[in-house]
Amino acid sequence: MTLRYLVQPLWLLLLWLMLWGSVSAVVLIGGLAVVIAVRAAFRMPAVDLRVTLRPLRLIGLFWHLLIQLVSSATSVAWAAIRHGGHVPAAVMEVPLEEDSDVIIAATVFFTAMSPGSLVLEIDRERRVLYVHGLPAGTRAEAERRRRSVRQAERATVSALKEAPKEAPK
């Protein structure tokens, strides 16, 4: 029984505790019962967790996320006031380097948070994202958005995956 199998039940238990907002024996035991029941009732597919968490980088990533969210909200709000109905947009193709479900999902998440981009379509087989950029008035601006998605992928990889040289063995 490795940690992999414990991630989901532990997360469910944490969720339950947060919902109750307190830790007492009744809540804890009730939570355990609910987790077991949920796990029995709904067979969830095992998540492909072949990634290594790096807590410090992850915290850095969340801080980055917060700043990104603020600046992206500002940019879209400004676009709403400045351009309104005539806002220029672009649909870009962004090829990904990684082939892991978790990393692609995280990249999609960070892309949705980063200023002016939203993932329209995920082509899992070809490992390509299609990103809608707004505002994107020129091709150069669209290229900049494309680069920022790539950067989001690299940041995710650096937080979730251990660099080969640091790996044990």
């Binding site: 709000a77 193709e93 299609y130």
Partner: protein, 133 residues
């Protein structure tokens, strides 16, 4: 409840409400569903998260965790809604083409359609190679 937490939570709430308001402007003014989705996904999400954080400072610890959960849910559902609605909008043609500077998904879909109908693939390929480099 000290004066400082009151000030901080007031600022959070007012800024949050301002972003909600601007999101409403965006939803009303943007030309197509996908652009409106941008307003919903970014400005609206930041607005509600800020208001929730402001509320967080005003309630007892017992309820603070559940409020935090609401904020987390708001955040993690954004890309999912964005992708599902965005994809459907694009595929049903709900996109304002005159506003587009470039559209590489259309190129790709056209190339796929050509390949399926057996015609040889052509010039588009080099454009995609450039994208990969």
């Amino acid at each position: 409840m000290t004066a400082l937490t009151n000030v901080v939570s007031s600022v959070l709430m007012l800024v949050g409400a301002l972003f909600c308001l601007l999101a409403g402007v965006g939803v009303l003014r943007f030309p197509d569903a996908i652009c409106r989705l941008h307003a919903a996904a970014k400005a609206q999400t930041l607005g509600v998260v800020l208001i929730l954080l402001g509320t967080e400072l005003q309630v007892s610890v017992k309820f603070a965790w559940a409020l935090l959960l609401v904020a987390v849910f708001q955040l993690i559902t954004v890309p999912v809604t964005g992708q599902v609605v965005g994809r459907t909008a694009y595929r049903t043609g709900e996109i304002y083409r005159p506003g587009l500077v470039m559209d590489e998904l259309a190129d790709r879909l056209a190339a796929d359609a050509r390949r399926e109908s057996g015609e040889p693939a052509e010039p588009r390929e080099d454009a995609q190679e450039r994208g990969n480099g």
